[in-house]
């Protein structure tokens, strides 16, 4: 018994002392900043920076081989932390998100043949350069979806990949995952994009896709931040002309406001929770709609009336104080009040309905 305790604890003691000595003898000086920097990074080892893991980036930052803004998924918070550690001033890093520069699902773009093979864009590209008639089109088989570690990519039923900008961390893993090479990084603040990558000439594009850029150059003539290159319109994101003008100009609808182009469920968060409530509310809304074919017209100018009524009240009082004006004024003032109440209730119902549905 005593032997066992002694020998085992002796063994442990020897191992412990050995390790203690070894840690002194084989001590490797690590810059304490490296640990601090590594602690500030996300620690997900996503590889977006191009270094082997977060520790690799930390070492590179200390060695001056990488910038403190190189951690793309970390965003502003990490950059600020690193600024404090490194004693450097922050250079504003615009957050970038990935975007699929193709708007055409199966409905918009023609296909060459029915592809029944392996569900992978790279595999599909082996068969005659993809099944889409347009060789710059999204195949929608989800190679980027698999590459995304943040669930930021959705594949629609139409076989079109859509990257949700709110979820995208800008790690760029999906960019090389696309065999068609149509995923690009764009500034997150920009919403207007040319959702097409086709370098084909106008007629060729038009033949295979209803929403492709046909190279009509209309947008370049009317706005300052659009240019043409290889039959494709290009947004110059550095020029601050973020008006929605090009969206209205584009005849094919290729240039679009991303959120409007893809009104997916993502832009209406908490849909599932409210979906249950929405059913009864939707009925109310329908009833409201059916019940107020007459009041419908009144609803439209409602806000202006609502603003006017207090004024008209004041006017009424004023007119009462000053002198009694003809009865017409009073009638006018009274009528909106009555109609306002009715409309108010209707509009409230309507608002409820729309809220719940969304």
């Amino acid at each position: 018994m005593i032997e066992a305790i002694l020998s085992l604890s002796g063994l442990g003691l020897i191992a412990g002392i050995g390790l203690g000595i070894a840690s002194k003898v084989f001590h490797v000086y690590v810059d304490p900043k490296v640990e601090a920097v590594e602690g500030a990074l996300l620690g997900t080892n996503c590889g977006a920076c191009g270094f082997p893991g977060c520790s690799g980036l930390a070492n590179a930052i200390i060695a001056g081989e990488a910038a403190i803004t190189d951690c793309l998924p970390g965003g502003e918070d990490v950059v600020n932390d690193l600024c404090r550690i490194m004693g450097v001033e922050a250079t504003a890093a615009e957050k970038e998100v990935a975007i699929v520069l193709c708007k055409a699902g199966d409905r918009e773009a023609k296909t060459k043949f029915d592809y029944m093979g392996v569900k992978d864009c790279w595999a599909a590209m082996q068969v005659g350069g993809g099944f889409k008639s347009c060789s710059y089109g999204c195949l929608g088989l989800g190679s980027c979806y698999k590459a995304c570690e943040y669930d930021a990519i959705e594949i629609t039923e139409d076989r079109l990949a859509i990257i949700i900008p709110e979820k995208c961390t800008g790690c760029t893993m999906c960019v090389p995952a696309c065999p068609v090479n149509i995923i690009k990084m764009v500034p997150a603040s920009q919403k207007v994009h040319v959702l097409c990558s086709s370098f084909d000439k106008g007629p060729a594009t038009k033949k295979v896709c209803s929403v492709g850029c046909i190279g009509c150059t209309l947008c370049t003539k009317k706005t300052s931040n659009m240019s043409m290159e290889n039959n494709l319109a290009i947004v110059d994101y550095s020029v601050l002309d973020n008006t929605h003008d090009p969206v209205d100009i584009c005849p094919t609808g290729t240039i679009s406001d991303f959120e409007q182009a893809h009104p997916l469920k993502r832009f209406k968060p908490e849909k599932k929770k409210k979906a249950k409530k929405a059913k009864p509310a939707a009925k109310v809304k329908k009833e409201g709609v059916t019940a107020k074919p007459d009041s419908d017209k009144k609803v439209v100018p409602k806000p202006t009336e609502g603003q006017e009524t207090p004024k008209s009240k004041v006017e009424k009082e004023k007119s009462g104080n000053e002198a009694e004006k003809p009865a017409k004024d009073n009638k006018e003032a009274v009528k909106p009040e009555g109609s306002e109440k009715v409309e108010g209730s209707v509009s409230e119902k309507k608002e409820e309905g729309t809220k719940d549905v969304s």
Partner: protein, 196 residues
């Protein structure tokens, strides 16, 4: 002399193929399933494991012969071996970090992970059970590690391919992984009878 060499080479072959640690003895299945998603990481893990398993075989054999047996405390074998292996891994990590930063970077996180690998403890205990000599222990430890590496790399290659395959929905994920490993184990059973 020639006899010894034949015996040792037979021991090596048997440890690698016939009594493959993962596929025939079912030891070290955790890293086998966990670190086999990419061939690249599988190779890194294999290298680190080979390193540690060989060293652990040798050092535990020494501890068994010169400490546990003389004091008649063989029943503390498991805990003593775990102690040895854990501190050995730590020690190796320190030495590698100091002497070869390149190797340290390559092995990376795998070195500390091996501490809890049951294949390492398994090979140490098996060496004692079979009453191997010092040389046989070394060869057996290295062979077992080689077998582990072989299984891990093959399996990683298989998994990279199943990633691309159109797997039926009910088999996706862990299910197909386990089935694949079962089939691989079945294939390795073909080696039984090669060496007695």
């Amino acid at each position: 002399m020639g006899d010894v060499i034949t015996q040792l080479s037979l021991l090596l072959v048997s440890a690698v193929f016939v009594n493959n640690f993962v596929l025939a003895r079912f030891l070290g299945v955790c890293p086998f399933l966990g670190v086999s998603k990419k061939v690249e990481t599988a190779v890194g893990m294999s290298m680190a494991t080979m390193f540690v398993m060989t060293l652990a075989s040798v050092s535990t054999w020494v501890v068994q012969k010169f400490i546990l047996v003389p004091f008649q405390i063989e029943y503390l074998q498991t805990i003593a071996f775990i102690l040895i292996i854990a501190s050995l891994v730590q020690f190796v990590e320190m030495v590698v970090q100091k002497t070869s930063p390149v190797l340290y970077q390559a092995l990376g996180i795998f070195l500390p992970l091996i501490t809890t690998n049951c294949a390492v403890l398994g090979v140490a205990i098996l060496n004692i059970q079979k009453d191997y000599s010092f040389l046989s222990t070394t060869i057996h430890g290295f062979g077992a590690a080689l077998g582990f590496a072989l299984a891990l790399v093959i399996f990683a290659g298989l998994r990279e391919r199943t990633e691309l395959a159109d797997v039926p929905k009910s088999f996706q994920g862990v299910a197909i992984t386990l089935i694949t490993s079962g089939l691989l184990s079945l294939a390795f059973m073909g080696f039984s009878g090669l060496v007695k």
